[in-house]
Amino acid sequence: MNLASTIEAYGTSQGAEHAWDTRGRGRKEQLSNKAQRARAAYVPCTAEKQRLADESEKLISAIIHGQRTADNAPFDIIKGKNGIEVKTIFPGVKNDKITIHPESRMRKEEFARKNKIEMHTVVVDRRTNEIHYAPGVKSYRLGIGRIKKVSVKELTEIFK
């Protein structure tokens, strides 16, 4: 490490960690039971899962010729007056559920109302490579309620 990068690093956690280490502190504390339960319930999106989710979004965007959003936009893809939430079910996941938190849903509904757009949910199941579609945005369990399996052609028709 040269001098410039050493100075630079001290503005980051690397520098801070080094300072703690040299004073013999910075020990990791054990997680409470509640935090351990949260870790089990909210499966962390690792780099591999992020890559799969990114691929799913690119795929759906290409199929419907939609525009992928950037930053913290409430929808993943915009196609005309349609806002699309894309969810991925990762390989190895045992339940068929996708979750939209109530506060996220309210934010999307507010955005949709203001911009007069329709909301949709598209689920890419990476376990089976199937696509599921539902009008609106809410939590769904695959095969139950308004969510249904669709072909690429059917998805294209929906967003024509």
Binding site: T12, Q14, E17, Y42, A47, A53, A73, D76
Partner: protein, 91 residues
Amino acid sequence: MSFYLADRNGYVGDLASINGFMQMKKSCGNFLSPSTSLMRFLDEGETTEMLNVIQDIKFVIPRISEASIRSTLGDLKDSLSKAKEIAIVTQ
């Protein structure tokens, strides 16, 4: 908006669209090494070192030219400051 932040009590806040998250991660990687708390957090999807991650975000924000990515990082920083004990990126 497919990614959100959770802590020991559950939902904390929305993070970014998938594309927005990936862009943010790429930009941060231009200025931070993979061993920093922020880059580890973005790769592993969880952290218990929220203060260190916030420190990295504060370091990187002024160096990023795209306003949308700065905004996403600002939202992440706000959510991390509310997170209790653990911060998990989930969808």
